[in-house]
Symmetry: D3
Subunit: 132 residues, 6 copies
């Protein structure tokens, strides 16, 4: 399979999963590391998320859990809290995942995840209300 | 709800999820911190895993992802790779989760997760062959 | 012991240790994960901090050291820098703990802890001066 | 104060705190990085542990908590579990510190700390029984 | 070698490497932990960076890589992105180091490093344009 | 550029950098996640290490520093200590990088890196003596 195909497939997957938030990340890379934007389309989205063996909903459970537990990637966690909603997780399911992280990474990790979700859910609410 | 109930519920959940591997952890705590065994039944299993808002299968996706990404809990990761199989994840799905962690926590984290899975899957294979 | 008792005991412990800062965390959870506020009272404060085997002063040494070394929980570190003062640690003792973390988690972890303490100490000074 | 003084003071502090375990680390550095053994005497022990503002007992609470929470320094954690006993912490107090880490760094971190303590306490028991 | 010499040598090294950014850190420590400013001059800069076995350029490659991978030290990473430029790394080389961290610490760590570099490079550009 | 090219280029780069140690990792993946072996050739080695903007020697400084600071990837650190020697770093330079990590990630991280290097250097010595 050619690189162009991976790139195209990655772009479609990123749009489906992360929507505008993903595109903002790509845009922000343009003047510092445009090749890294290409890699971001290709490997995570063109290679990994496009594999058939796990649903996008299940993949977002894994990503939200990992980023919450790591605690070093707040901006990316917010993108994936949004992505989780995009691919079919409910707010309640996301909240369960975040609370569960208290067991594995401690209460501060879970709290920081829950407060990130509070922000993301509120922003989405606002967007919904302001839509025509 | 009384503490006894949380403890009972946690014991049932731990047995369903982690099976013998969970019991070994509890046994090993007996002479150093028996109260911690009680907390382990009560909070993670009696409180969190027993909540109805997320299936055990989804909870294990989250736990496997988090422990792989953290990279500081190999023994617990092995218990939960086993637990994942117990609650309905296939080997292929678990492998997908582990590979995905390369994106969020780097290739070494994913590799160490995959090699842990290789061990757990092989041990299970052996146990299956040696069963009467 | 019933859950109500753990909850009550946890609420008293949280108030003694974290004071208003702890209450703000609990309040912020109300609309996203009220059950998690209950767990936060019950396990960390009702179970762990209420155990007789270690003084609250010693427990805060441990918490301040851990959160500084981890470096992923700045908001919680600030709450516990305040809590340390509440349960009898002096500013000088807290500063010693933070400096010591350079040895185990590196100079950046210690620096980020010291700058958090600088903020917390200054806010407390202001509050003291503005009190009637 | 001259470097020789820091070195001497660090050597005395390391012997008081870590005993033989500390010396083994120093010896093991001899053929790969002897200067690093000097730094280890000088900064952690000659500078930090020798400061008067915090007792050695309190310093070991901080170190045991931090290393348990980090989860990346099992050999050093074992040295400091031993050191904690050397400077006056009881086994019960150490166990309390380790259990408390479940709150801040998750149950796996606390479990791995407790199992390290189990090993250290048992080895010490054996040594006590085999002493003339 | 006396402590005064280490201190002097560290001050010179810090000024050569980190320039004003390093001095701001030292100044900010004055009212909370002045001794820690001394340690910061002495051990990292007087001892380590002053050793002849590795060039300052190579040392900054190591530091930028480590801080990006750790993801817990954004302020210090920014100081060392600036330091990297001071000791001869090009923007392109720094960008390569940051992108490479995606392999070892995940894409979020690399992205957060790249966005920190974007800020540092832009601030330097502004300073260059506003210089007389 | 087609995927085959990335794969071929990655295989050549991996052989040049990691030699046999890299091949062992690839072989070990064959029965659990063969696709991951392909990704490992393609992204880290075919994409990143093959970029012209930074020498292999400089890339290994970055990798050794990052893996030592993270402290969660001992097997991969050993592979890259070997790789560092393969692409032109001296034992003394590698030791300098490892010691420097004490500043950023703490003394335990540096010690664990130095002891890994001690093992790798000794094994290489043995291999050299036993070569025909």
């Amino acid at each position: 399979m050619t690189t162009t195909t991976r790139l195209e497939r990655g772009k479609r997957a990123l749009e489906e999963i992360d929507g505008q938030a993903g595109q903002h990340v790509i845009d922000a890379l343009a003047d510092i590391a445009p090749d890294f934007a290409t890699y971001l389309f290709e490997f995570p989205f063109g290679d990994i998320y496009s594999r058939p063996g796990l649903s996008l909903r299940d993949r977002e459970i894994a990503t939200i859990a990992a980023l919450t537990a790591m605690g070093t990637a707040q901006p990316q966690l917010k993108v994936h809290l949004e992505a989780g909603l995009n691919v079919g997780l409910s707010r309640e399911e996301i909240t369960e995942i975040l609370m569960q992280m208290a067991v594995y990474a401690g209460f501060p990790a879970a709290l920081n995840g829950l407060f990130a979700a509070k922000e993301v859910f509120a922003a989405r609410q606002d967007a919904a209300f302001s839509a025509p």
